[in-house]
Amino acid sequence: MAGSEVLINAESLTKKYGDFVAVDNIGFQVYKGECCGFLGPNGAGKTTAIKTIHCVLPLTSGKLTVAGMNVSEKPREIKKMIGVTPQEDNLDPDFSVITNLLVYARYFDIQKAEALKRAEALLKFFQLEGKKDVIIDELSTGMKRRLILARALVNEPKILLLDEPTTGLDPQARHLIWDKIRDLRKQGVTIILTTHYMDEAAELCDRTLIMDNGKIIEEGKPSELVKKHIGEEVLEVDYDEKVMKTLQEEFPEARLEVLGDRIRVFTIQPHGVFETFLRDFPSKGATIRNANLEDVFLKLTGRQLKE
Protein backbone atom coordinates (compact mmCIF):
# COMPACT_ATOMS: atom_id res chain seq x y z
CA MET A 1 0.00 0.00 0.00
CA ALA A 2 0.94 3.59 -0.49
CA GLY A 3 3.15 4.84 2.29
CA SER A 4 4.21 8.29 3.26
CA GLU A 5 7.75 8.10 1.94
CA VAL A 6 8.23 10.70 -0.79
CA LEU A 7 9.77 9.13 -3.88
CA ILE A 8 9.44 11.99 -6.33
CA ASN A 9 9.55 15.58 -5.23
CA ALA A 10 9.06 18.61 -7.47
CA GLU A 11 9.53 22.19 -6.30
CA SER A 12 8.76 25.20 -8.50
CA LEU A 13 9.16 22.99 -11.54
CA THR A 14 9.03 25.03 -14.73
CA LYS A 15 9.54 24.00 -18.33
CA LYS A 16 9.44 26.48 -21.19
CA TYR A 17 9.77 25.94 -24.92
CA GLY A 18 10.87 29.33 -26.15
CA ASP A 19 8.13 31.64 -24.87
CA PHE A 20 5.62 28.89 -24.35
CA VAL A 21 5.32 27.76 -20.74
CA ALA A 22 4.43 24.07 -20.79
CA VAL A 23 4.81 23.49 -17.06
CA ASP A 24 4.37 26.55 -14.93
CA ASN A 25 6.00 26.55 -11.52
CA ILE A 26 4.40 23.42 -10.11
CA GLY A 27 5.16 21.49 -6.96
CA PHE A 28 4.06 17.96 -6.20
CA GLN A 29 5.03 14.78 -4.41
CA VAL A 30 4.62 11.18 -5.40
CA TYR A 31 4.71 8.69 -2.55
CA LYS A 32 6.32 5.31 -2.62
CA GLY A 33 3.92 2.56 -3.66
CA GLU A 34 1.03 4.74 -4.78
CA CYS A 35 -0.61 5.11 -8.14
CA CYS A 36 -0.74 8.80 -8.89
CA GLY A 37 -2.75 10.10 -11.83
CA PHE A 38 -1.92 13.22 -13.82
CA LEU A 39 -5.13 14.41 -15.44
CA GLY A 40 -5.68 17.33 -17.71
CA PRO A 41 -6.82 18.37 -21.16
CA ASN A 42 -4.47 18.09 -24.13
CA GLY A 43 -1.63 20.53 -23.76
CA ALA A 44 -2.02 20.80 -19.99
CA GLY A 45 1.60 19.80 -19.43
CA LYS A 46 1.18 16.20 -18.26
CA THR A 47 3.53 14.60 -20.75
CA THR A 48 6.09 17.34 -20.25
CA ALA A 49 6.00 16.74 -16.49
CA ILE A 50 6.45 13.01 -17.07
CA LYS A 51 9.39 13.58 -19.37
CA THR A 52 11.19 15.72 -16.83
CA ILE A 53 10.82 12.90 -14.30
CA HIS A 54 12.57 10.40 -16.51
CA CYS A 55 15.28 12.88 -17.34
CA VAL A 56 14.70 13.27 -21.09
CA LEU A 57 13.70 16.90 -20.82
CA PRO A 58 15.92 19.33 -18.92
CA LEU A 59 14.13 21.69 -16.53
CA THR A 60 13.99 25.39 -17.25
CA SER A 61 13.97 26.08 -13.53
CA GLY A 62 13.00 24.52 -10.23
CA LYS A 63 14.07 21.35 -8.55
CA LEU A 64 13.06 17.77 -9.20
CA THR A 65 14.34 14.76 -7.30
CA VAL A 66 13.63 11.08 -7.81
CA ALA A 67 14.54 8.80 -4.91
CA GLY A 68 16.54 11.69 -3.51
CA MET A 69 18.56 12.13 -6.69
CA ASN A 70 18.47 15.34 -8.67
CA VAL A 71 17.33 14.78 -12.28
CA SER A 72 19.94 17.12 -13.66
CA GLU A 73 22.77 15.38 -11.81
CA LYS A 74 21.98 11.67 -11.88
CA PRO A 75 19.98 10.96 -15.02
CA ARG A 76 21.49 7.52 -15.60
CA GLU A 77 20.86 6.30 -12.07
CA ILE A 78 17.30 7.59 -12.20
CA LYS A 79 16.58 6.11 -15.62
CA LYS A 80 17.83 2.74 -14.38
CA MET A 81 15.01 2.56 -11.85
CA ILE A 82 12.24 3.82 -14.12
CA GLY A 83 10.09 2.08 -16.72
CA VAL A 84 8.28 4.19 -19.29
CA THR A 85 5.42 3.64 -21.67
CA PRO A 86 5.32 6.63 -24.01
CA GLN A 87 2.16 7.90 -25.65
CA GLU A 88 3.49 7.14 -29.09
CA ASP A 89 4.44 3.65 -30.09
CA ASN A 90 8.22 3.50 -30.33
CA LEU A 91 8.76 -0.22 -30.46
CA ASP A 92 11.63 -1.14 -32.73
CA PRO A 93 10.01 -2.18 -36.02
CA ASP A 94 13.26 -3.73 -37.20
CA PHE A 95 12.97 -6.49 -34.61
CA SER A 96 10.57 -9.24 -33.56
CA VAL A 97 8.57 -9.11 -30.33
CA ILE A 98 11.08 -10.96 -28.16
CA THR A 99 14.09 -9.23 -29.71
CA ASN A 100 12.52 -5.90 -28.83
CA LEU A 101 12.67 -6.92 -25.20
CA LEU A 102 16.16 -8.40 -25.44
CA VAL A 103 17.67 -5.38 -27.19
CA TYR A 104 15.99 -3.10 -24.68
CA ALA A 105 17.38 -5.17 -21.81
CA ARG A 106 20.83 -4.77 -23.32
CA TYR A 107 20.49 -0.99 -23.08
CA PHE A 108 20.17 -1.56 -19.32
CA ASP A 109 23.27 -3.79 -19.16
CA ILE A 110 21.19 -6.85 -18.32
CA GLN A 111 23.06 -10.07 -19.11
CA LYS A 112 21.70 -12.12 -22.00
CA ALA A 113 20.57 -15.17 -20.01
CA GLU A 114 18.82 -13.00 -17.43
CA ALA A 115 17.26 -10.88 -20.18
CA LEU A 116 15.89 -13.97 -21.88
CA LYS A 117 14.40 -15.20 -18.62
CA ARG A 118 12.74 -11.87 -17.96
CA ALA A 119 11.52 -11.49 -21.55
CA GLU A 120 9.86 -14.92 -21.52
CA ALA A 121 8.19 -14.19 -18.19
CA LEU A 122 6.95 -10.78 -19.36
CA LEU A 123 5.53 -12.15 -22.59
CA LYS A 124 3.63 -14.68 -20.53
CA PHE A 125 2.41 -12.06 -18.07
CA PHE A 126 1.05 -9.98 -20.95
CA GLN A 127 -0.31 -12.97 -22.87
CA LEU A 128 2.01 -12.48 -25.81
CA GLU A 129 3.88 -15.82 -25.77
CA GLY A 130 2.28 -16.82 -29.05
CA LYS A 131 3.60 -13.69 -30.75
CA LYS A 132 7.19 -14.09 -29.64
CA ASP A 133 8.73 -14.20 -33.10
CA VAL A 134 6.24 -11.96 -34.85
CA ILE A 135 7.41 -8.71 -36.39
CA ILE A 136 6.05 -5.55 -34.73
CA ASP A 137 4.04 -4.40 -37.75
CA GLU A 138 1.87 -7.47 -37.53
CA LEU A 139 0.70 -6.76 -33.98
CA SER A 140 -2.67 -5.17 -33.23
CA THR A 141 -2.77 -1.85 -31.36
CA GLY A 142 -3.68 -3.66 -28.15
CA MET A 143 -0.78 -6.09 -28.46
CA LYS A 144 1.62 -3.24 -29.15
CA ARG A 145 0.49 -1.45 -25.99
CA ARG A 146 0.97 -4.63 -24.00
CA LEU A 147 4.42 -5.12 -25.45
CA ILE A 148 5.37 -1.52 -24.65
CA LEU A 149 4.27 -2.14 -21.08
CA ALA A 150 6.26 -5.38 -21.03
CA ARG A 151 9.29 -3.52 -22.34
CA ALA A 152 8.93 -0.92 -19.60
CA LEU A 153 9.24 -3.72 -17.03
CA VAL A 154 12.35 -5.35 -18.44
CA ASN A 155 14.62 -3.48 -16.01
CA GLU A 156 12.37 -4.33 -13.04
CA PRO A 157 11.64 -0.66 -12.37
CA LYS A 158 10.67 0.78 -9.01
CA ILE A 159 8.76 3.55 -10.76
CA LEU A 160 6.51 3.17 -13.77
CA LEU A 161 5.55 6.17 -15.89
CA LEU A 162 2.50 5.36 -17.97
CA ASP A 163 1.62 8.06 -20.48
CA GLU A 164 -1.90 7.32 -21.70
CA PRO A 165 -1.44 3.56 -21.55
CA THR A 166 -4.88 2.63 -22.88
CA THR A 167 -5.60 5.31 -25.48
CA GLY A 168 -7.17 3.78 -28.57
CA LEU A 169 -7.74 0.34 -27.07
CA ASP A 170 -10.91 -1.74 -27.07
CA PRO A 171 -12.53 -2.49 -23.69
CA GLN A 172 -11.06 -6.00 -23.52
CA ALA A 173 -7.51 -4.78 -24.02
CA ARG A 174 -8.12 -1.90 -21.63
CA HIS A 175 -9.30 -4.14 -18.85
CA LEU A 176 -6.38 -6.49 -19.35
CA ILE A 177 -3.97 -3.57 -19.00
CA TRP A 178 -5.82 -2.32 -15.92
CA ASP A 179 -5.48 -5.77 -14.36
CA LYS A 180 -1.76 -5.73 -15.00
CA ILE A 181 -1.35 -2.24 -13.61
CA ARG A 182 -3.18 -3.30 -10.45
CA ASP A 183 -0.93 -6.36 -10.19
CA LEU A 184 2.15 -4.19 -10.44
CA ARG A 185 0.83 -1.83 -7.80
CA LYS A 186 0.33 -4.74 -5.47
CA GLN A 187 3.95 -5.70 -6.06
CA GLY A 188 4.92 -2.30 -4.72
CA VAL A 189 5.75 -0.50 -7.95
CA THR A 190 5.11 3.24 -7.75
CA ILE A 191 3.02 4.29 -10.72
CA ILE A 192 2.44 7.62 -12.37
CA LEU A 193 -0.32 7.57 -14.91
CA THR A 194 -1.63 10.15 -17.32
CA THR A 195 -4.97 9.58 -18.93
CA HIS A 196 -7.94 11.27 -20.56
CA TYR A 197 -10.27 8.60 -19.30
CA MET A 198 -11.70 9.61 -15.97
CA ASP A 199 -13.09 6.17 -15.30
CA GLU A 200 -9.56 4.85 -15.71
CA ALA A 201 -8.19 7.35 -13.24
CA ALA A 202 -10.99 6.63 -10.76
CA GLU A 203 -10.40 2.92 -11.19
CA LEU A 204 -6.63 2.89 -10.76
CA CYS A 205 -5.39 5.98 -8.96
CA ASP A 206 -4.98 6.45 -5.22
CA ARG A 207 -4.53 10.13 -5.86
CA THR A 208 -4.89 12.44 -8.82
CA LEU A 209 -3.42 15.79 -9.78
CA ILE A 210 -5.49 17.82 -12.19
CA MET A 211 -3.47 20.03 -14.50
CA ASP A 212 -4.56 22.84 -16.77
CA ASN A 213 -2.42 25.32 -18.68
CA GLY A 214 0.77 24.03 -17.09
CA LYS A 215 -0.47 24.37 -13.52
CA ILE A 216 -1.77 21.92 -10.97
CA ILE A 217 -5.24 23.20 -10.16
CA GLU A 218 -6.42 20.48 -7.79
CA GLU A 219 -5.22 17.33 -6.14
CA GLY A 220 -6.64 14.59 -3.98
CA LYS A 221 -8.24 11.17 -3.88
CA PRO A 222 -10.71 10.71 -6.75
CA SER A 223 -13.64 10.01 -4.42
CA GLU A 224 -12.83 13.02 -2.25
CA LEU A 225 -12.53 15.30 -5.25
CA VAL A 226 -15.94 14.18 -6.46
CA LYS A 227 -17.47 14.79 -3.07
CA LYS A 228 -15.79 18.17 -2.71
CA HIS A 229 -16.60 19.60 -6.12
CA ILE A 230 -19.71 17.81 -7.31
CA GLY A 231 -21.44 16.07 -4.42
CA GLU A 232 -22.97 12.66 -4.49
CA GLU A 233 -25.54 12.68 -7.25
CA VAL A 234 -26.27 14.48 -10.46
CA LEU A 235 -29.72 15.01 -11.88
CA GLU A 236 -30.19 15.24 -15.62
CA VAL A 237 -33.47 16.24 -17.24
CA ASP A 238 -34.61 17.35 -20.70
CA TYR A 239 -34.49 21.10 -21.13
CA ASP A 240 -37.71 22.98 -20.57
CA GLU A 241 -38.05 26.57 -19.35
CA LYS A 242 -40.64 25.68 -16.74
CA VAL A 243 -38.53 22.82 -15.39
CA MET A 244 -35.54 25.10 -15.32
CA LYS A 245 -37.41 27.63 -13.21
CA THR A 246 -38.68 25.02 -10.82
CA LEU A 247 -35.19 23.63 -10.43
CA GLN A 248 -33.78 27.06 -9.68
CA GLU A 249 -36.41 27.60 -7.00
CA GLU A 250 -36.07 24.14 -5.55
CA PHE A 251 -32.25 24.06 -5.47
CA PRO A 252 -31.12 27.66 -5.04
CA GLU A 253 -27.62 26.64 -4.02
CA ALA A 254 -27.16 24.20 -6.89
CA ARG A 255 -25.15 24.68 -10.05
CA LEU A 256 -27.30 24.24 -13.15
CA GLU A 257 -25.65 23.52 -16.40
CA VAL A 258 -27.42 23.49 -19.74
CA LEU A 259 -25.72 21.46 -22.35
CA GLY A 260 -27.53 20.91 -25.62
CA ASP A 261 -31.09 20.00 -24.68
CA ARG A 262 -30.28 18.65 -21.26
CA ILE A 263 -30.09 20.30 -17.88
CA ARG A 264 -27.64 18.98 -15.33
CA VAL A 265 -28.07 19.80 -11.68
CA PHE A 266 -25.09 19.60 -9.37
CA THR A 267 -25.79 19.96 -5.70
CA ILE A 268 -23.86 19.28 -2.56
CA GLN A 269 -27.03 18.20 -0.83
CA PRO A 270 -27.09 14.64 0.43
CA HIS A 271 -28.13 11.51 -1.36
CA GLY A 272 -31.85 11.23 -2.12
CA VAL A 273 -32.86 14.88 -2.64
CA PHE A 274 -33.38 14.37 -6.36
CA GLU A 275 -35.57 11.36 -5.80
CA THR A 276 -37.84 13.38 -3.54
CA PHE A 277 -37.90 16.18 -6.08
CA LEU A 278 -38.85 13.88 -8.94
CA ARG A 279 -41.69 12.37 -6.92
CA ASP A 280 -43.26 15.84 -6.69
CA PHE A 281 -42.24 17.11 -10.12
CA PRO A 282 -42.02 14.24 -12.56
CA SER A 283 -39.85 15.64 -15.38
CA LYS A 284 -39.27 14.38 -18.86
CA GLY A 285 -36.13 12.30 -19.44
CA ALA A 286 -35.06 12.54 -15.82
CA THR A 287 -32.15 10.39 -14.65
CA ILE A 288 -30.26 10.44 -11.42
CA ARG A 289 -26.72 9.20 -11.54
CA ASN A 290 -23.72 9.13 -9.26
CA ALA A 291 -21.37 12.06 -9.51
CA ASN A 292 -18.04 11.09 -11.04
CA LEU A 293 -14.54 12.30 -11.70
CA GLU A 294 -15.47 13.44 -15.20
CA ASP A 295 -17.86 15.97 -13.67
CA VAL A 296 -15.03 17.28 -11.53
CA PHE A 297 -12.70 17.43 -14.48
CA LEU A 298 -15.13 19.36 -16.66
CA LYS A 299 -16.03 21.71 -13.85
CA LEU A 300 -12.39 22.54 -13.15
CA THR A 301 -10.98 22.66 -16.67
CA GLY A 302 -14.04 23.98 -18.50
CA ARG A 303 -15.97 22.65 -21.43
CA GLN A 304 -14.38 24.50 -24.28
CA LEU A 305 -11.96 22.60 -26.46
CA LYS A 306 -8.38 23.19 -25.43
CA GLU A 307 -6.70 23.07 -28.79
Binding site: V56, K79, E88, N90
Partner: protein, 266 residues
Protein backbone atom coordinates in the same frame (compact mmCIF):
# COMPACT_ATOMS: atom_id res chain seq x y z
CA UNK B 1 24.16 33.32 -32.60
CA UNK B 2 26.03 34.25 -29.49
CA UNK B 3 29.57 33.15 -28.80
CA UNK B 4 28.45 30.94 -25.92
CA UNK B 5 25.98 29.20 -28.20
CA UNK B 6 28.63 28.52 -30.81
CA UNK B 7 30.99 27.28 -28.13
CA UNK B 8 28.29 24.91 -26.89
CA UNK B 9 28.22 23.29 -30.33
CA UNK B 10 31.84 22.25 -29.89
CA UNK B 11 31.57 21.04 -26.33
CA UNK B 12 33.14 17.60 -25.94
CA UNK B 13 30.37 15.07 -25.33
CA UNK B 14 30.55 12.67 -22.40
CA UNK B 15 30.62 9.21 -23.88
CA UNK B 16 30.75 5.81 -22.19
CA UNK B 17 30.86 2.18 -23.35
CA UNK B 18 27.09 2.50 -23.90
CA UNK B 19 27.84 3.91 -27.35
CA UNK B 20 28.43 0.30 -28.37
CA UNK B 21 24.94 -0.74 -27.32
CA UNK B 22 23.56 1.59 -29.95
CA UNK B 23 26.09 0.35 -32.48
CA UNK B 24 25.11 -3.21 -31.63
CA UNK B 25 21.45 -2.47 -32.22
CA UNK B 26 22.18 -1.23 -35.72
CA UNK B 27 24.55 -4.11 -36.36
CA UNK B 28 21.90 -6.64 -35.31
CA UNK B 29 19.39 -5.11 -37.72
CA UNK B 30 21.96 -5.17 -40.50
CA UNK B 31 22.80 -8.82 -39.91
CA UNK B 32 19.13 -9.76 -40.02
CA UNK B 33 19.05 -8.77 -43.67
CA UNK B 34 22.70 -9.25 -44.51
CA UNK B 35 22.04 -10.90 -47.85
CA UNK B 36 20.22 -7.84 -49.16
CA UNK B 37 22.84 -5.56 -47.65
CA UNK B 38 25.75 -7.40 -49.22
CA UNK B 39 24.45 -7.31 -52.77
CA UNK B 40 24.80 -3.65 -53.82
CA UNK B 41 28.46 -3.26 -52.80
CA UNK B 42 29.17 -6.55 -54.55
CA UNK B 43 27.42 -5.86 -57.84
CA UNK B 44 27.96 -2.14 -58.30
CA UNK B 45 31.75 -2.24 -58.64
CA UNK B 46 31.47 -5.11 -61.10
CA UNK B 47 29.24 -2.98 -63.35
CA UNK B 48 31.57 0.00 -63.07
CA UNK B 49 34.71 -2.00 -63.70
CA UNK B 50 33.22 -3.70 -66.75
CA UNK B 51 31.49 -0.65 -68.24
CA UNK B 52 34.00 2.04 -67.45
CA UNK B 53 37.16 0.04 -66.92
CA UNK B 54 36.93 -2.26 -69.92
CA UNK B 55 34.41 -0.36 -72.06
CA UNK B 56 35.32 3.28 -71.68
CA UNK B 57 38.87 2.42 -70.65
CA UNK B 58 39.71 1.03 -74.09
CA UNK B 59 39.46 4.59 -75.43
CA UNK B 60 41.48 6.17 -72.63
CA UNK B 61 45.23 6.53 -72.46
CA UNK B 62 46.97 5.33 -69.33
CA UNK B 63 46.70 7.91 -66.53
CA UNK B 64 49.81 8.55 -64.45
CA UNK B 65 51.15 5.34 -65.93
CA UNK B 66 48.07 3.34 -64.93
CA UNK B 67 45.60 1.58 -67.20
CA UNK B 68 42.20 3.28 -66.82
CA UNK B 69 40.61 0.33 -65.00
CA UNK B 70 43.39 0.39 -62.45
CA UNK B 71 43.03 4.14 -62.07
CA UNK B 72 39.34 3.98 -61.20
CA UNK B 73 39.49 0.87 -58.97
CA UNK B 74 40.61 2.77 -55.81
CA UNK B 75 38.02 5.46 -56.61
CA UNK B 76 35.27 2.84 -56.52
CA UNK B 77 36.46 1.78 -53.09
CA UNK B 78 36.46 5.40 -51.93
CA UNK B 79 33.01 6.07 -53.35
CA UNK B 80 31.63 3.07 -51.47
CA UNK B 81 33.17 4.47 -48.28
CA UNK B 82 31.40 7.77 -48.90
CA UNK B 83 28.03 6.41 -50.00
CA UNK B 84 27.52 3.81 -47.30
CA UNK B 85 28.29 6.08 -44.35
CA UNK B 86 26.66 9.19 -45.79
CA UNK B 87 23.40 7.48 -46.61
CA UNK B 88 23.41 5.52 -43.36
CA UNK B 89 23.59 8.70 -41.28
CA UNK B 90 21.20 10.76 -43.40
CA UNK B 91 18.31 8.57 -44.56
CA UNK B 92 19.03 5.72 -42.14
CA UNK B 93 19.42 7.85 -39.03
CA UNK B 94 16.51 10.11 -40.00
CA UNK B 95 14.17 7.13 -40.36
CA UNK B 96 15.25 5.80 -36.97
CA UNK B 97 14.97 9.19 -35.34
CA UNK B 98 11.80 10.53 -36.95
CA UNK B 99 9.66 7.66 -38.19
CA UNK B 100 10.63 4.82 -35.89
CA UNK B 101 11.25 6.93 -32.75
CA UNK B 102 14.12 4.58 -31.99
CA UNK B 103 16.20 7.34 -30.40
CA UNK B 104 13.32 8.29 -28.09
CA UNK B 105 13.06 4.69 -26.98
CA UNK B 106 16.77 4.41 -26.31
CA UNK B 107 17.13 7.62 -24.31
CA UNK B 108 14.49 6.36 -21.87
CA UNK B 109 17.19 3.90 -20.78
CA UNK B 110 20.52 4.80 -19.11
CA UNK B 111 21.92 5.68 -22.53
CA UNK B 112 22.26 9.40 -23.26
CA UNK B 113 21.38 11.17 -26.50
CA UNK B 114 25.07 11.90 -27.09
CA UNK B 115 25.81 8.20 -26.92
CA UNK B 116 22.97 7.39 -29.29
CA UNK B 117 24.37 9.74 -31.92
CA UNK B 118 27.96 8.60 -31.38
CA UNK B 119 26.77 5.00 -31.80
CA UNK B 120 25.07 5.93 -35.06
CA UNK B 121 28.26 7.62 -36.30
CA UNK B 122 30.38 4.59 -35.45
CA UNK B 123 27.84 2.38 -37.14
CA UNK B 124 28.05 4.58 -40.26
CA UNK B 125 31.83 4.15 -40.22
CA UNK B 126 31.36 0.41 -39.82
CA UNK B 127 29.10 0.32 -42.87
CA UNK B 128 31.94 1.99 -44.78
CA UNK B 129 34.33 -0.73 -43.66
CA UNK B 130 31.91 -3.49 -44.67
CA UNK B 131 31.06 -2.02 -48.09
CA UNK B 132 34.58 -1.04 -49.02
CA UNK B 133 35.91 -4.46 -48.02
CA UNK B 134 33.46 -6.08 -50.40
CA UNK B 135 34.46 -3.67 -53.17
CA UNK B 136 38.09 -4.37 -52.35
CA UNK B 137 37.46 -8.08 -52.82
CA UNK B 138 35.85 -7.43 -56.22
CA UNK B 139 38.75 -5.23 -57.26
CA UNK B 140 41.17 -7.95 -56.15
CA UNK B 141 39.21 -10.53 -58.13
CA UNK B 142 39.72 -8.37 -61.21
CA UNK B 143 43.45 -8.59 -60.52
CA UNK B 144 43.83 -4.89 -59.88
CA UNK B 145 45.75 -4.93 -56.62
CA UNK B 146 49.46 -4.82 -56.90
CA UNK B 147 50.60 -3.94 -53.39
CA UNK B 148 50.26 -5.46 -49.90
CA UNK B 149 49.47 -2.04 -48.45
CA UNK B 150 45.86 -2.64 -49.54
CA UNK B 151 45.52 -4.29 -46.14
CA UNK B 152 45.26 -0.77 -44.68
CA UNK B 153 42.12 0.06 -46.69
CA UNK B 154 39.72 -0.80 -43.80
CA UNK B 155 41.54 1.78 -41.71
CA UNK B 156 41.00 4.42 -44.40
CA UNK B 157 37.38 3.25 -44.58
CA UNK B 158 36.94 3.73 -40.85
CA UNK B 159 38.45 7.21 -40.86
CA UNK B 160 36.70 8.30 -44.04
CA UNK B 161 33.48 6.64 -42.95
CA UNK B 162 33.49 8.43 -39.62
CA UNK B 163 34.11 11.70 -41.44
CA UNK B 164 31.23 11.23 -43.88
CA UNK B 165 28.94 9.93 -41.11
CA UNK B 166 29.61 13.03 -39.04
CA UNK B 167 29.00 15.34 -41.98
CA UNK B 168 25.83 13.42 -42.81
CA UNK B 169 24.64 13.75 -39.23
CA UNK B 170 25.05 17.52 -39.39
CA UNK B 171 22.68 17.51 -42.37
CA UNK B 172 20.32 15.24 -40.45
CA UNK B 173 20.29 17.70 -37.57
CA UNK B 174 19.23 20.41 -40.04
CA UNK B 175 16.68 18.33 -41.95
CA UNK B 176 13.07 19.41 -41.49
CA UNK B 177 11.93 16.35 -43.48
CA UNK B 178 13.42 13.43 -45.35
CA UNK B 179 13.22 15.09 -48.79
CA UNK B 180 15.74 17.64 -47.53
CA UNK B 181 18.52 15.12 -48.19
CA UNK B 182 18.17 15.72 -51.93
CA UNK B 183 20.13 18.93 -51.38
CA UNK B 184 23.30 17.46 -49.90
CA UNK B 185 22.85 14.60 -52.36
CA UNK B 186 23.03 16.84 -55.41
CA UNK B 187 25.14 19.66 -54.07
CA UNK B 188 27.70 17.70 -52.09
CA UNK B 189 27.77 14.01 -52.90
CA UNK B 190 27.37 14.16 -56.69
CA UNK B 191 30.09 16.79 -57.21
CA UNK B 192 32.39 14.72 -55.03
CA UNK B 193 31.54 11.57 -56.95
CA UNK B 194 32.65 13.26 -60.16
CA UNK B 195 35.29 15.81 -59.20
CA UNK B 196 37.48 14.23 -56.54
CA UNK B 197 40.07 12.62 -58.78
CA UNK B 198 37.74 9.66 -59.15
CA UNK B 199 37.33 9.08 -62.89
CA UNK B 200 40.03 11.45 -64.13
CA UNK B 201 43.03 13.01 -62.39
CA UNK B 202 42.53 16.26 -60.52
CA UNK B 203 45.23 17.85 -62.69
CA UNK B 204 42.81 17.87 -65.65
CA UNK B 205 40.72 20.46 -63.81
CA UNK B 206 41.39 24.22 -64.01
CA UNK B 207 43.79 25.25 -61.21
CA UNK B 208 41.20 27.02 -59.05
CA UNK B 209 39.02 23.92 -59.13
CA UNK B 210 41.93 21.76 -58.10
CA UNK B 211 42.42 23.98 -55.08
CA UNK B 212 38.69 23.90 -54.37
CA UNK B 213 38.57 20.10 -54.59
CA UNK B 214 41.50 19.70 -52.23
CA UNK B 215 40.18 22.24 -49.75
CA UNK B 216 36.48 21.39 -49.69
CA UNK B 217 35.78 17.98 -51.20
CA UNK B 218 36.61 15.39 -48.55
CA UNK B 219 36.39 12.53 -51.00
CA UNK B 220 39.50 13.86 -52.74
CA UNK B 221 41.57 12.87 -49.75
CA UNK B 222 39.96 9.47 -49.36
CA UNK B 223 40.64 8.74 -53.04
CA UNK B 224 44.22 9.90 -52.61
CA UNK B 225 44.81 7.56 -49.70
CA UNK B 226 43.09 4.56 -51.29
CA UNK B 227 44.95 4.98 -54.55
CA UNK B 228 48.27 5.39 -52.80
CA UNK B 229 47.76 2.23 -50.76
CA UNK B 230 46.48 0.08 -53.61
CA UNK B 231 49.17 1.08 -56.04
CA UNK B 232 51.83 1.31 -53.38
CA UNK B 233 52.73 4.83 -54.34
CA UNK B 234 53.42 6.52 -51.02
CA UNK B 235 53.86 10.22 -51.67
CA UNK B 236 54.05 13.05 -49.17
CA UNK B 237 50.66 14.23 -50.42
CA UNK B 238 49.15 11.22 -48.67
CA UNK B 239 50.23 12.64 -45.35
CA UNK B 240 48.41 15.87 -46.16
CA UNK B 241 45.27 13.89 -46.95
CA UNK B 242 45.58 11.95 -43.73
CA UNK B 243 46.04 15.14 -41.71
CA UNK B 244 43.11 16.77 -43.52
CA UNK B 245 40.78 13.88 -42.62
CA UNK B 246 42.14 13.56 -39.09
CA UNK B 247 41.49 17.27 -38.49
CA UNK B 248 38.06 17.58 -40.03
CA UNK B 249 36.60 14.34 -38.61
CA UNK B 250 36.76 15.15 -34.89
CA UNK B 251 35.36 18.62 -35.53
CA UNK B 252 32.32 17.28 -37.35
CA UNK B 253 31.99 14.35 -34.94
CA UNK B 254 31.58 16.71 -31.98
CA UNK B 255 29.55 19.26 -33.93
CA UNK B 256 27.06 16.70 -35.22
CA UNK B 257 26.48 15.24 -31.76
CA UNK B 258 25.80 18.66 -30.26
CA UNK B 259 23.59 19.73 -33.13
CA UNK B 260 21.52 16.55 -32.89
CA UNK B 261 21.22 17.01 -29.16
CA UNK B 262 19.94 20.53 -29.72
CA UNK B 263 17.43 19.28 -32.26
CA UNK B 264 16.11 16.47 -30.08
CA UNK B 265 16.28 17.84 -26.54
CA UNK B 266 14.45 21.13 -26.37
Amino acid sequence: MKVAEIASLFKLPELTYRVWKVWQRDFDVFMKTWKVNFFPPLLEPIFYLVAMGYGLGSFVQPIEGLPYIQFIAPALISISIMYSSFFECTYGSFVRMYFQKTFDAIIATPISIEEVIAGELLWGATRSIISSTIVLAVVAAFGLISNPLFILIPLVAFLGGLMFSSMAMVFTSLAPNIDFFNYPGFLFITPMFLLSGTFFPLTSLPPFMQVFAKAFLPLTHVVDLSRGLIIGNLESSLLISLVWIATVTPIFFVLSINMMKRKLIK
